[in-house]
Structures are given as structure tokens and as C-alpha cells.
Amino acid sequence: MLRVICSDYDSPSSEPESEGSDKEALRLSSESEADEDNLKPDVTNPDPDVTNSMTLCHAGIPIRAYSFPEEDPGLNLYAPFQHHVDYRLARFFNCAKTLQGNIEQFLQEGILQGLNLAHHIQFRSAYTMYKLVDAATNEPRWQSGVVDYPLLNGVQFHYRNIILAVKYLLCQKAYAGDMVWGPQQEYDREGNRVYSEINTAIWWEDNQVRISDILCRIGD
């Protein structure tokens, strides 16, 4: 009854994958002080009612630091863009929400070539530019399948691998200052427990602390 067109689910490898979009983001972050602050994990709670918060044991603590290959001179931080000028130009058009017609006009009139004779822009149209932008986001790819209902055959469905989608969300720099890694217990001025985020709920404690305790015991 169920047929899958694309390749079947492949278990993601245990080795963490480097993310193309993250490379660019990390390079840019070094240029901006405000962005640099975002890289630090923020454990403060924005809720004004909460006066005291406590992180529980070792749950959520990293197993190691990830050494990003930024120092490698052969690494293209702007992949899939070949040059930082192409990357910055695409970034400008995207951030400024420039209309596709205006982008086409800009590229046809060759304004950038007039300013810098040595540089040839990698993309010739708005379409090819956005294809490169899409490739840079490194989103998990879609797969398709077909199901047969008793009265209707060949109904298509599409899906993504959940684990790859989780990996994609976890490495998004935009959330860097707003991520929580372990359970927390929060209290107000009167000492009452406050429940604000999922990680302050008992469910998270029950699940993550139990798992990390088991792992610690195995490690001991």
C-alpha cells in the first residue's frame, strides 16, 4: 500500500556534519559585536516574575567543544558562493527585499563590473541568485512517497527526515541567544515554583535528568 519514490530513510551518521550556512554566519558574526554576544548561551530568564533559577545537575552539558575549521585557508566560508562579493551582494538583495525585476536590471546594466573590473558576478539573474541562496540554507531535503487508497491510487505525500530537521534547527545562529539545553527550576520572590518554558516543567526534568543520570552511572 505504501511506496516510496526517493531513497529510503538513511540513518544520519554519528559524526556531526558541518553546516554550510553556519560557516558564513560564523564569519559574519566575527564582524559584529552585537552578533558576537548572541553566540554566548543565554541562561537568564526574560520573565520578570522569576527571581531565582537553578540549572539541574549535568543535564544539557556539552560533551565537547566543536572545533570549527575556520582557520583552514582552503575552506570557502561563502559556499556555495565563490567570492565574498557575490555573497554580500546576494545578502544585500535578500535583506533589502529587492524585487526580482530590479535585481535583473541591476545585473543587466553591469553596474558592479563598472566599479570593479576584475570581478565577474557568479549569478546572471535573480533566479540563479535565489537558487544559490536556497543551497546556502542547507535545509533538509524533501522525499516523496505514494500511497494507494482502496478507491484512489497513487496519492503522493512528501516528507523530510525528522533528525536532519532537528540538526538544521539546532545549528541556526538566529536562535543562539534563545536556546535552552537543560532543565531549570525557577522560583518567584515568595519561593513558589514558576513554570514558564518547557524546560522549567517537570516533564523535561523527568526525561532529561533520568537519561543523563543513567549515562553518568554507565560512565562511572
Partner: protein, 355 residues
């Protein structure tokens, strides 16, 4: 790591093939809710477009609508199995190493935390009929009634045993469909836990939507609808509130946004309409009591709704919520006459004729 899923079947076209789309979105509980809930942050990503089955056909001999529904549900659950396969993988027990935004590598144990959706889709996901509760074993006749102690939660372990023994009768009695539920394959998952409180479906499109009809019938019954319209049309604007452009009873479709707007002003408007004395007949003692109870009922629901929107809760606020809920159930009988469904109203009218 909590994985959050949300889905809602969407009707796309009316006259060109009745197209429908059934998207499933995913997010993770590690992102703070303030960021996760901003649509511009794209923290919810589409994870699947589920297949939409064909319409049921009545006129096939030997192939009843019930059989068609059963087989369509089984097909949907086969797709769920495929979609959720990574979560039932043995790797979920040993953990995945993942790079985090803070340049650290952590060991992750993904676990399904919730599946946000409306009741009909909950029935599909839990493979139950549309009447029973997906969370607890509450008798159908007790649905909608307040219970201080609650009811025992559904035991899917028993359902799995009954399914393996092909005990369709026992499953039918409990309102469970005799199919192989895809979520049974997920380790350490308690299915009733997947249903989480949801303001949009439970309060706005749930109780408030019914309350809108009850209030209208109540006002018409006591000839206060014109007084209500008078106040409704003169509501002043303020930040976060858009003035209603239509009369209350003229609005044909109440979506979540309109109900949210309505809930902000209904208590004041309703109370003003009922308390108006000019050009109104003198109230009897019974009517005054009914009006007070109706206002208290709407007030309890408004308080409950406002309190559910708090960004954080303590045991005290949760006790307030319980109190408002109890008050609502104690006073809702004032709308009992207007809560009757079509069948009951028809039966009542026929009984009245016979008299």
C-alpha cells in the same frame, strides 16, 4: 530533546476539485517560546505533506463507508510510520551527537513531546472514534461536565494487546479503531501525553465558539439583542483591539482572530446590555438571578481565558484556573436551554406539538 509537531488539514479550493492540503510542522522545545512563536523566526519548519484520502462513497455494495474509513486510517498510519521512523530508531536510545549554536557538541535523545492539532485530527492520530477523549477514559455522557478528580488515562498498552489478539469487540467498546497505530512503535511514548492544552483549539475555537451562540440566543430570548447591538456598535478603539465592523449576529464565520477580539470585549458589552434599564421592561426576581448567573458564567470563562495567556504559571495561578473552570461549569446551566443541539430542539418541538 522535545520534538513538537503541529498539523491541520486545510481546505484549499471549493469549486476546482475540492483540493486539500495536510501539512505537518515541526519545532524543538529547546528554542524559547517567545522566539518559537514568532513566525518571522521560522522556528516551525514543514516536515511533511500528508496524503489526503478520497471522499467516501455510499453506493458500493459489500464495501461500507465504515470499511473505507478504516482502510483510509490504516493508510494514513502507514505514512505516519514512515515519517516517524527516525524516532523509533535504535539510535534514539544511544543518542545523536549534534552541533549546537554555541559551538558545542551535545548528545541528543529526541522524543516526541506533543502533537498540536484539533480534536478530529487527534482522533485520527490516536486512531479513535470522534466521540471519546484521546486523553482519559471518560464516559461519553460525562463529556462537558466538570470533574474534580478527573478520570483514568487511556492505557494504550491494553489497546496494543487487544489489537494483537484481534479483539475488535473490546476495542470498539472503548472507541478505539482496530488498526496498527503508528505511534505505538515509538519507544517510551505515552500517547495521552501528546495532547497538550492549546488556547486556539480548546478555548477560542472550542468553548468561546459555543458561547457566542449561547449568548445570542440568550439575548434574543430576553429581548436584549437590540441593547447589545447598541453597545457593540459603539465600542471605542484601543491598541490591540479592532472595532467590529459588523453587527454581532451578522458575523457568519468566527475565526480564531475574531474570537480573540470578541473575548476582549464580550464581558463588558454583555453586562452593559443586561444591566440597561432605560426602555426595558421591569425585571422579575428570577430574571435578575439568571442575568447575574449569565454574567458570572461569561466572567469565569473570560478570566480563565485571560489567565491561560500568562507567560508563566505558579501553583497559585493554576489553582485560580481550576477555580474559574469550576465556576464556569457551575453557572453554565443558565444557558442550558440554548445549548441544545438540533436533534434535541426538534424532539422538544415535537413533544410540545403533541401536548
Amino acid at each position: 530533546m522535545p520534538i513538537l509537531l503541529a498539523s491541520d488539514e486545510t481546505h484549499l479550493t471549493n469549486f476546482s476539485g475540492n483540493k486539500k492540503l495536510w501539512p505537518v510542522y515541526m519545532s524543538i522545545g529547546n528554542i524559547r517560546s517567545s522566539i518559537r512563536n514568532m513566525h518571522t523566526m521560522h522556528a516551525w519548519i514543514p516536515i511533511a505533506l500528508l496524503p489526503v484520502g478520497p471522499k467516501r462513497v455510499n453506493k458500493i455494495t459489500g464495501y461500507s463507508v465504515e470499511m473505507q474509513k478504516q482502510q483510509a486510517l490504516q493508510t494514513v498510519h502507514e505514512v505516519f510510520t514512515h515519517l516517524l521512523k527516525p524516532l523509533s530508531d535504535a539510535r534514539c536510545q544511544t543518542g545523536y551527537e549534534m552541533i549546537c549554536t554555541d559551538r558545542n557538541v551535545r548528545l541528543y535523545f529526541p522524543k516526541l513531546f506533543c502533537w498540536l492539532t484539533d480534536h478530529m485530527e487527534n482522533a485520527t492520530i490516536h486512531a479513535i472514534t470522534s466521540n471519546p477523549c484521546p486523553v482519559c477514559i471518560v464516559p461519553v455522557e460525562k463529556l462537558g461536565k466538570y470533574s474534580e478528580t478527573g478520570y483514568p488515562r487511556c492505557s494504550h498498552a491494553d489497546y496494543i494487546t487487544a489489537h494483537r489478539e484481534s479483539d475488535a469487540l473490546s476495542l470498539n467498546e472503548q472507541g478505539v479503531k482496530n488498526i496498527n497505530n503508528a505511534l505505538w512503535s515509538l519507544p517510551k511514548l505515552n500517547l495521552p501525553d501528546l495532547v497538550r492544552a492549546d488556547i486556539l483549539h480548546n478555548i477560542l475555537l472550542g468553548v468561546w465558539k459555543h458561547m457566542i451562540d449561547w449568548i445570542q440566543d440568550f439575548l434574543e430570548h430576553y429581548e436584549r439583542i437590540n441593547a447589545f447591538d447598541y453597545v457593540w456598535c459603539r465600542l471605542p478603539p484601543y491598541p490591540g483591539f479592532s472595532i467590529p465592523t459588523k453587527l454581532y449576529r451578522v458575523v457568519s464565520q468566527w475565526s480564531g482572530k475574531e474570537i480573540r477580539n470578541f473575548a476582549k470585549v464580550i464581558l463588558g458589552t454583555f453586562a452593559a446590555a443586561l444591566r440597561q434599564t432605560t426602555n426595558q421592561p421591569r425585571l422579575t426576581g428570577g430574571q435578575v438571578q439568571e442575568f447575574n448567573e449569565a454574567i458570572l458564567c461569561v466572567s469565569s470563562l473570560t478570566d480563565f481565558h485571560l489567565m491561560t495567556q500568562y507567560p508563566s504559571h505558579t501553583d497559585q495561578t493554576i489553582s485560580y484556573l481550576k477555580r474559574y473552570l469550576r465556576e464556569f461549569h457551575e453557572t453554565k446551566n443558565v444557558f442550558l436551554h440554548f445549548r441544545a443541539g438540533k436533534k434535541v430542539k426538534k424532539a422538544a418541538a415535537e413533544a410540545h406539538k403533541n401536548l
